[in-house]
Symmetry: C2
Subunit: 683 residues, 2 copies
């Protein structure tokens, strides 16, 4: 079972040299510039006594070729809308990116490189969006950066189609991405790259760091794909066997990749991991641990590098400085954009609004009016259907909304009449969809939403986590949100999912009970600037609830839906279980018990309200009973140990929905009985 | 963005016929036998008024060819160890499998088919392991059945290598799997099939239902892979363009697939979804909804099917009945096994023990003795290191243990000295690993465990869910279980993961605090017969705790670690936070407060103890404070609203571990302060 080292890898290992003999420098000094990346990575990892030197040393020549010769960016303005995007999907090689950002002139001083991986530095262990200028996305969880890059390239294409005008190309940039073996082993690479091939995203260029090594050693024991053939099967252009240490070969490959062919391009770069380290190059030892003082000295000697740690020769600084070139590139674009703005002023203003992520000025009033109508009409419908109505309304106000579904369009109801190209069929690719949506949001100009069944949020979970960690405005439409989906059975019935999503920091989870709460949830999702939202929606029809102040109150995440003066017990419910709580309240009236019903569509938003408000909803000293057809444990944070929860702590069954509610005892009778018990002092 | 229907699909759509004109029957009656599957599927879906007729109608001819001519199975004994395994990865076509099981003679009477998708039937909406005899795995979440099949084929190979002897082949069966476009779009298909190619699992044969349709419509808009080329890139043998409605072409393809070539085989079967339905064949409409009475009548007419629903002509019954052939096949094997048992009695007994999933008789005593030694030595070490010690010990007693890691072997410490071929490098494929482990466990004879970082349990989450739903003995080794992993930062630091895993029904989650609890957790994991276990393990060294009765008590999931008579407050901690609670206790003594420390390595096991025991650990009326460096909400189920939780409800940071604990206030001082506040009545 153990890895048997193949001939190919043996050759590579025999070639463990400080620099492969066939690495021409041709006296241009480019090797020295690449070595600056190597040495900075080594020194920072050494200072932190942790980190990953192998990848930066292996990809340094590729980085030099791309960043110095081809990447169009302006270190003084990392938010320039038409910059090329660069994604380091193999994010453990973060020091490569930090070295590039420092050297080309971003606001990342050497002091930050010295503080690599220290608390509060701008150089965390893996690249983090929002922490370091020039970092386009948070990477580390393998494969997702690649999918983000697909999303960015898609955003570019959509915005170019929407905003470019004859004679004016204001959206015209590339997305470049570095990936390693790990990214390509992950399933998400299949999902994202298959989709990118179908979509023909020709401005996406991916560099595969084909070094034959992953953490466990030579990949021949566990990863023997013919990767070029695989990507050709996806409809990509593949440039095979490019010497990843020959800057001129890389230049030629990049030049070819930039020619139009209607396909994304994979450049397969043959590299030596840890290139430059006399003893460790070509081995897994160099992947994720400091070289150690002795080997650092040897490596410096092998590279002919005389400067002490964190000190750079002036010619290296000069060779890397991209500020003038970057400023000129942006100035050129700005002149073109100004001309565009003269010719198409409203399109230009709209473009800037979109890229800044601002909602239109008229948005709030229009949505207010619409929500008032929804409240007045009070139609009974499934909340997935209500969601579709919301989407249709919001899409008429927000051209930046881009819908999609992981091959459940007709079930998730993410498409809408008149969507006209603003809905994407992601295919059966939940994780890929989540990460592509992150890329769309990161690029800017688009607010993505995508649907699948709530049970399959599991497939996408780490993609949701990254949107929450990065604070991206992405909307996850999760329909069929409980046993109410019925006959498809336990594999398709979420039980623990609502609670487990609520545990994820910075994700707002809405489970609306009717058409009005759905509209309010959607409004909150698109108005939220600092994080993603999950909408948990019913398959089955839910009655519209009543209440004068619901438009105001529901936006606070939890509120009194109905009350009869001083309550004996508070029933707290969400989504499809709100009608059950309402029915239980009527039963309790007949038993002489006054029950308040609290609808709690979004625990996170409720938790952010001031404590005084929360106490008006959940008064101290009144017993609480939560009702939700799912895992009960987390509800104890609301009802305490003195309260009770009617829920479901086991997997569901395959049967019609009404049978299941009865079978599992999630009924008005059961709620009334349990509530009554809470009101009676134990004898 | 919308799907543009390609020429290929157009051709197929033009060919929407009840039966494609080129479908030869050659008078053999095989078409009629296949039509029995079609009609049963239609009628059951119609009776349930929900379900998926399209796939069974499309794959009926393939099923006829495989099940009647090639599959070696015995309907009277679905547990026969050497049966061929059959996996329906596109599990929504469950009626195809139920029809096959009924017709070939399994204990699945027609009455059960009539109750398709009804509460308590043996014919749930998707195939469920343990519910229906002959169902080898639970499918429905797409792509996972395929990965299960990879695991089954791997189990066969490992057991054949271990148990077959010269002249005796007692393990010699195939694994067959049906997949659809959805399975092949899912990323897990990449992970599992890439691995299967590397491993050269030649007894795995996969039938691709290439019908060009997924739920959203013709796949040309979102799935344009050259799938044969993709699988060739994985090192598979691919049989292209097999007519999926020509039983003789299918026979020939299967014959070829059964020849040895050192590679798994993909048979690409071109089919028409819903084949037999005059109006709906070849369209997405037939995928997941009943045909309706009129179309059912039309379909019956087109198929020349005269029998009423759920009634079968006698010649159909006779043609399908596999009981005699199956009994003969098993008898033949039994005779060979008996001869093997004569020649190799201990190997034969061991094989039967392994396949029955029983532990060796000597196991309990040996483990008792070893755990006593662990308790006595009381070494301080990281629990991941303690886990490796446990593995080494258990592996010496249990040859069925098969380890592995998703390319983090040296970090997860899943390999052990002397493992000799009993450790698998899964590559960077967390989800694939989880689902392959499910397949290994389902096959029997192997207890699989596999490692990754806890943060990346997200990638594998639905695979864990299926092992929990199926009740499989699979052990998930999740190391680097919190901010204690330090510098890799928030992408790698689990915060919400422990709690979110605890929410998953039937998954036991252990987070041991030291070497002894780790040993006890491992023992519980391998002794557990009805579900999976997740072990959450520290990167950092943890001190050995003391206590006379810990060996007995820790096995109960939660227990008093230290106490000084009547406590003023109970500190409840897990894993790496237990030493912090212990230190806080000492601080509290100086403040005149008696704190009990409860170690709670496994909430689920503790919850299964009788209430009296639980009250001795957590006495009523004493305030409780939980300490765990993760999401706090779920701990309210233990401490209530009157208690407190020292935890972390935000994402981590990149920094050395001690800095992070200080930064986030998870320190003995903070715990002591918060505990003291709980003891003081609010003024």
């Amino acid at each position: 079972m153990d890895a048997s080292v193949t001939a190919a890898v043996e050759v590579r290992e025999q070639g463990r040299l400080a620099l492969p003999p066939d690495m021409p420098d041709r006296g241009s000094g480019r090797r020295m510039l690449a070595n600056a990346l190597r040495v900075l990575a080594i020194d920072a990892v050494e200072a932190a006594n942790s980190g990953h030197p192998g990848m930066p040393m292996g990809m340094a020549d590729i980085a030099e070729a791309l960043w110095r010769r081809h990447l169009r960016h302006n270190p003084a303005d990392p938010r320039w809308p038409d910059r090329d995007r660069f994604v380091l999907s193999n994010g453990h090689g973060s020091m490569l990116l930090y070295a590039l950002l420092h050297l080309t002139g971003y606001d990342l001083p050497m002091e930050e490189l010295r503080r690599f991986r220290q608390l509060g530095s701008r150089t965390p262990g893996h690249p983090e969006y929002g922490v370091t200028p020039g970092v386009e996305t948070t990477t580390g969880p393998l494969g997702q950066g690649l999918a983000n890059a697909v999303g960015m390239a898609l955003a570019e294409r959509l915005l170019a189609a929407e905003f470019n005008k004859p004679g004016y190309r204001i959206v015209d940039h590339r997305t470049f991405c570095f990936v390693g073996d790990g990214c390509l082993m992950e399933g998400i690479s299949h999902e994202a790259c298959s989709l990118a091939g179908t979509l023909g995203l020709e401005k996406l260029v991916v560099f595969y760091d084909d070094n034959g090594i992953s953490i466990d050693g030579p990949v021949s024991g566990w990863f023997t794909d013919d990767t070029p053939r695989r990507f050709e099967a996806y409809g990509w252009r593949v440039l095979r066997e490019v010497d990843g240490h020959d800057a001129y070969a890389l230049d030629a490959a990049i030049d070819e990749a930039l020619t139009s062919c209607g396909k994304p391009t994979l450049i397969c770069c043959q590299t030596v991991i840890g290139c430059g380290s006399p003893s460790r190059a070509g081995s897994a030892d160099v992947h994720g641990a400091p070289l150690g003082a002795a080997e650092v000295t040897e490596t410096r000697a092998a590279l002919g590098w005389a400067s002490p740690p964190f000190v750079l020769p002036e010619e290296v600084r000069a060779g890397w400085d991209a500020r003038r070139r970057g400023a000129a590139a942006q100035a050129d674009w700005q002149a073109r954009f100004d001309a565009y703005a003269d010719a198409h002023p409203s399109a230009a203003a709209e473009f800037l609004r979109r890229m800044q992520g601002e909602l239109p000025e008229s948005f709030a009033a229009a949505v207010d009016a619409w929500i008032a109508t929804v409240a007045e009409r009070a139609e009974s419908m499934a909340t997935r259907k209500a969601s579709q109505q919301s989407i249709r309304m919001l899409a008429s106000l927000l051209p930046e909304l881009l819908g999609g579904s992981a091959d459940l369009t007709g079930s998730n109801l993410t498409d809408w009449p008149g969507s006209g190209g603003r809905h994407l069929h992601y295919g059966v690719r939940e994780f890929g969809m989540a990460a592509v949506m992150n890329g769309l949001a990161l690029h800017g100009g688009i607010i993505p939403f995508g649907g699948t069944f709530l049970a399959f949020s599991d497939y996408a979970r780490n993609g949701l986590r990254l949107s929450a960690l990065m604070g991206l405005r992405v909307v996850h439409v999760f329909t069929h949100d409980g046993i109410g989906l019925g006959e498809d059975g336990p594999t398709h019935q979420p039980v623990e999912h609502a609670a487990s999503l609520r545990l994820m920091p910075n994700l707002d989870v809405w489970r609306p009970c009717d058409v009005l709460e759905t509209a309010i949830a959607w409004r909150a999702a698109v108005e939220r600037l600092d994080g993603p939202t999950a909408l948990l929606l019913s398959r089955q029809t839910l009655p519209a609830q009543q209440g004068a102040d619901r438009v105001r109150d529901a936006a606070r995440g939890g509120y009194v839906l109905t009350d009869d003066g001083k309550p004996d017990v508070v029933l707290i419910a969400t989504g499809s279980e709100v009608p059950i709580a309402m029915e239980a309240r009527l039963l309790l009236i007949h038993r002489g018990i006054a029950a308040r019903v609290v609808s709690m569509p979004c625990c996170e938003v409720f938790e952010r309200q001031d404590p005084a408000w929360r106490r008006t909803v959940l008064p101290d000293g009144v017993p609480r009973l939560a009702v939700e057809a799912g895992a009960t444990g987390l509800w104890r944070a609301t009802v305490g140990l003195d309260g009770d929860v009617v829920g479901l702590d086991r997997y569901g069954e395959s049967a019609p929905a009404p049978d299941l509610y009865r079978h599992f005892g999630i009924t008005a009778d059961a709620v009334a009985d349990r509530a009554q018990r809470l009101c009676l002092p134990q004898s």
